[in-house]
Symmetry: C2
Subunit: 318 residues, 2 copies
């Protein structure tokens, strides 16, 4: 068993915690017996809060000890049968079931104090014998998880690892089909293809590159999963339009859009651009977000050939 933890390591931390907690509960049973306390370990949290408070409702107890209310409900029923607790409907609120210790329960609460002292000492001594205090360690770990869950942390690591396998390369004729398909994917799911789309997607060389524009392609594990174009504009205010940005749905969430955007902006700068322009639609929230992250700001009052455009943005380069 220890071999398993040594091999699997940290990824088995959940199993390890469960086993340790089971071991503790097992010993707790024997400890209650030694002190002649007719209490099951699982009753302890309920018993404890009621010995500190005169009276509490089911949900109030559940919240305090971090159990679900049905769990408390069941525990209370068991303890009522053993005449440790008694129930009483709340006078002002007919839904509430107020629970408190019976005289027998109070006597037990008194009797158990020595046991608490001994257990506390024993655990403290054990913790103090170790270099890494487990009680503090758990406290810290819970605090860190409250700030950012383990799921969230793993997601971040995944992204970090995957982005290393992403490569941004210049357009080549062999990327013609992916260039078209990746763009069609998002356009047809949210809008419909327009005439202007068809032209530039079918003939990127003629409509984009030959006019002085650029296209970059994102490869993930050597396969094209994202594209982005820089289109030369005939406009006194803007040099280029950032357009035809697309990332395949399977490759989303890896930060590929950001890489494409940064790469195309760099290209624009190397071409001497001073100002970039783009058109989009506010339903594409992640895209708008990305454009903001890249430094684009909203502008108004430009004409557009696209029906789907309801937001226009610009980026001033230095």
């Amino acid at each position: 068993m220890n071999k398993f933890f040594d091999n699997a390591g940290i990824i088995a931390i959940g199993s390890r915690l469960r086993m340790l907690s089971e071991k503790m509960v097992e010993d707790a049973t024997k400890i209650y017996e030694m002190y002649n306390m007719d209490l099951k370990p699982k009753w302890f949290p309920v018993f404890y809060v009621l010995s500190q408070n005169n009276e509490k409702s089911i949900t109030a107890i559940a919240n305090e000890i971090g159990h679900s209310h049905p769990s408390v409900s069941k525990i209370v029923r068991e303890m009522v049968k053993e005449q440790i607790l008694c129930e009483k409907k709340d006078k002002n609120d007919g839904r509430k079931n107020n629970i408190k210790l019976t005289p027998k329960g109070k006597q037990m609460a008194n009797q158990i104090k020595d046991q608490y002292l001994d257990v506390q000492k024993a655990v403290e001594v054990t913790l103090n014998q170790s270099r890494y205090n487990m009680w503090y360690a758990i406290e810290e770990f819970e605090f860190l998880l409250d700030q950012k869950s383990m799921f969230h942390r793993v997601k971040e690591e995944k992204k970090l690892r995957e982005i290393k396998e992403v490569e941004i390369v210049p357009y080549e004729p062999k990327y013609g089909i992916p260039f078209k398909n990746l763009n069609e994917e998002w356009i047809t799911t949210y809008f419909k293809m327009e005439e202007t789309d068809r032209k530039s997607l079918n003939n990127p060389k003629e409509y984009i590159l030959d006019k002085g524009g650029e296209i970059v392609v994102a490869l993930y594990k050597k396969k094209p999963v994202g594209v982005c174009a820089l289109i030369k504009m005939n406009d006194p205010h803007y040099d280029f339009e950032l357009a035809k940005m697309a990332v395949s749905s399977e490759a989303k969430g890896k930060g590929i859009g950001l890489l494409l955007g940064k790469s195309i902006i760099k290209k624009a700068q190397s071409l001497g651009a001073k100002k970039l322009y783009l058109e989009s639609n506010t339903v594409l929230k992640p895209a708008i977000n990305l454009y903001h992250k890249l430094g684009f700001n909203k502008v108004v009052g430009h004409s557009t050939p696209y029906e789907r455009c309801n937001i226009q943005m610009e980026l001033v380069l230095d």
Copy 2:
């Protein structure tokens, strides 16, 4: 909930461990989903050992991961249904059910490697952000519990606390009844009362004290719970016999016998004794143990008035 742990403190360590482990399992479910792995968290230990070993029997897996074998049996059945594992009777041993990964399972094992890496990194990063590394802390704690269980540790604390409430006082006439009853208790449970017993238990003054002997009484919370006598001997080899040592069954396990013994030996020394003698029976193992701890050694060849005596011991005082 945190309030509960803050109040109850360390004695709720079992609950806290359980909750933390539940939180980890919850996140694990979401993590498997994110990687499109059709694995339940509870399958992980079985899956892991089988991806490290070609083939293993049910109990071999159970031992390695620290589960009961029915648990593994159930998990394996579920995974066989999902065609991740396959079973095969052992050729040499008809009882054994050898389990291994199917091709699908092997493919999953290969696919899951990235996930392992990410999870490991994420956990490591979290642990390194804390002052007390929880993984090491658990390792240490388990090590300490292996050496001495929490039950054992609590028992020791109990003894330490209780021994403070034990007082050894000299005999007084009011302890006549307890002196008799405490001795009758053990004699009648293991043997039967003999004439010599009756005499000295009914008339301790005449048969023990007036002949130059001593009696001490142990009080626990002011109540007499143990006695021990020092009886003057008419023997060239021995000054006194240690006898009539008795501790009430309710007060056993608090180390009262040791206190009584030490006290009576001290008394013997103050009376100038050079050598003590005692008689006992080997069925009384804790007693024999205690006599050894006090320094007594086995001797042979003395006559005794007691039927129940089958071991004789002496202690040389310096």
